[in-house]
């Protein structure tokens, strides 16, 4: 399988604090990669570094063959259109309607006529079970609906890689399972590479992707869910067997 994302010796600092150090990882095209770990371990920072929102202090990130640290504006724009990002709290533009939010990347990066854009918006909303909400404002939606709209917007340009930051955090079990099902469908039906940041054990088991576990800003485990469940590692074991004493 081809490589979608390659991370070499990555280090990220926030001021004087080192958040990530010595991160090496590779994510293949078409796979589901789950970045997991306890709160504050650097998961979201890693995701933001991969998507180019944070500049690393050291090392480099290669996404779809582009070295994100050395991209000029044009290549940055080209790469961004091949990626979709779903933020933890949706990050919908509150001044635009649901439909306008989803249409935004299409309007800005394509020359499609309005009617066609509207069709795509409706299709995207239907795929997240929110058909008919295009004229509503984000403030009128529940947390779960906002996340689903964010997923629809992230999918607007048919990205090759979809990044999701805590897609099911703070949602009721039914909505969380629904979002996981959507992500699995996108991966299996469209072959999209999906990178998910989460610490929800149920989601991790449902998605059954390749795990990259962080602790203290470093990768402490990489492997399948089954391997993680069997692992006796002092960080991995308590995560997958909460409440049980480490062996």
């Amino acid at each position: 399988m081809e490589t979608a994302i390659r991370i070499d010796n990555l280090r990220v600092d926030y001021g004087e604090t080192t958040v990530l150090s010595g991160i090496d990882a590779e994510i293949k095209k078409g796979e589901i990669a789950v970045i997991l770990g306890s709160s504050g371990c650097g998961k979201s920072t890693l995701l933001k570094t991969i998507t180019g929102l944070i500049e690393p202090r050291q090392g480099h990130v290669e996404v779809l063959g582009y070295n994100t640290a050395t991209l000029d504006e044009e290549d940055q724009s080209k790469l961004a259109t091949r990626l979709g990002v779903m933020f933890q709290y949706g990050a919908l533009l509150n001044s635009l309607t649901v439909g306008e939010n989803i249409a935004l990347p299409l309007e800005m990066h394509t020359d499609l006529p309005r009617a066609q854009i509207n069709q795509i918006v409706r299709l995207r909303l239907d795929s997240v079970s929110l058909e008919g909400t295009q004229d509503r404002m984000p403030s009128e939606l529940s947390g779960g609906m906002r996340k689903r709209v964010a997923l629809a917007r992230a999918m607007a340009l048919d990205p090759e890689i979809l990044f999701c930051d805590e897609p099911s955090a703070g949602l009721d079990p039914v909505t969380a399972a629904e979002i996981d099902r959507l992500l699995l469908t996108l991966n299996r039906s469209l072959g999209i590479t999906i990178v998910i940041v989460t610490h929800e054990l149920l989601s991790i088991n449902r998605l059954d992707g390749r795990l990259i576990m962080l602790n203290g800003g470093q990768v402490v485990f990489s492997g399948t869910v089954e391997e993680a469940q069997r692992s006796k590692h002092s960080v991995v074991y308590p995560f997958f067997h909460p409440g049980e004493a480490s062996p």
Binding site: G52, A80, L83, A91, N94, S95, L104, P105, M108
Partner: protein, 362 residues
Amino acid sequence: MSSIYIEGSTLFLKEALVLANLSEIEKAIRLLFSESPSDRWQVNLDALERLDTAGALFLHQLPDLADQYKSSLSLGPLPEHLKSIFKFATPLPNAVASTPPHLPFLERFGAAIFRLSQRAADFLYLMADLSYFSMQAVWNRRTLRRDAFVDQAYSIGAQALPIIGLILFLIGAVSALQSAAQLRQFGADIFVADLLAIGITTELGPLMTAIMVAGRSGSAIAAEIATMKFSEELDALRTMALDPLRFVAVPKMWAMVATVPLLTILADFIGILGGTVIGVFSMGISPTAFITQIISSLFLKDIVTGLVKSAFFAWIITVIAVYRGINFSGGAVGVGQAITSAVVSSLVGIIVLDLAFNLLFY
């Protein structure tokens, strides 16, 4: 609720030792220690029935309390049902306070200068980028969001007109009254019209309009952008390959630059109207004479200078508001600070620009 008494050097605690009676018990024990000195105290807890975490913590600390009165103290056995809570509420070891390393003055001074120069560079870069993107939007109209421009122009211009009109009407009236008080001494009442017309069009109109816009719209821009940053909307735009400056700030810049000069024209007119009302009704000058005097004293250059100034005021207000919004950090408090600093910095920027224009034109 509780009782405490001593027999010899044994202190008996009965019934309850809980948060509600802790203060009372502590006072009683201190009194006993001071009034009945003993080298060695024994505490009998056999009759203690209830204990909460605060009470347990107090029991743990009793030996230290006795130590303050130069005596020692040992606790007797606790009833079985209270042992677990006593163990649970074991005091934590004192944390060693970590003090930040003390840097020498020169190092701190250098760091402060470095931070300041970095902020100045960031501000200048943003000023250049925003100005460039705004100019670029004139030729590449696709990048300018017309709906956002219209909404902003309506909010900055039309919605601000009533308050700006009221303020300028009052300022025009006050200016006329102040000028009349001086000019009347020389029998030159009619020249109130000249002072009013020139003062309002060249200085007070553009300046007061800009100050009102900075307080009203500059703060709104800073708050909106700071909130967008907080809710990751700006990050979302970046991930969609949309530059937040182009997408969010450019429509605001054009709305400001287009509407503030228009507001200034109206403010000039209303300000002169306010002065005219005073001239006619308070000073008894005929309306025709007053208006003729105003028209004869005004030159196109005065009006144009005021309008050019107001366009630059609009530009600096937007640049500062966007800078403060984008560089916001923290939560609700950070948004408040971004708004305050946007307004204060804008006022300074407006006055500095005004001085520069006055040096240039007069």
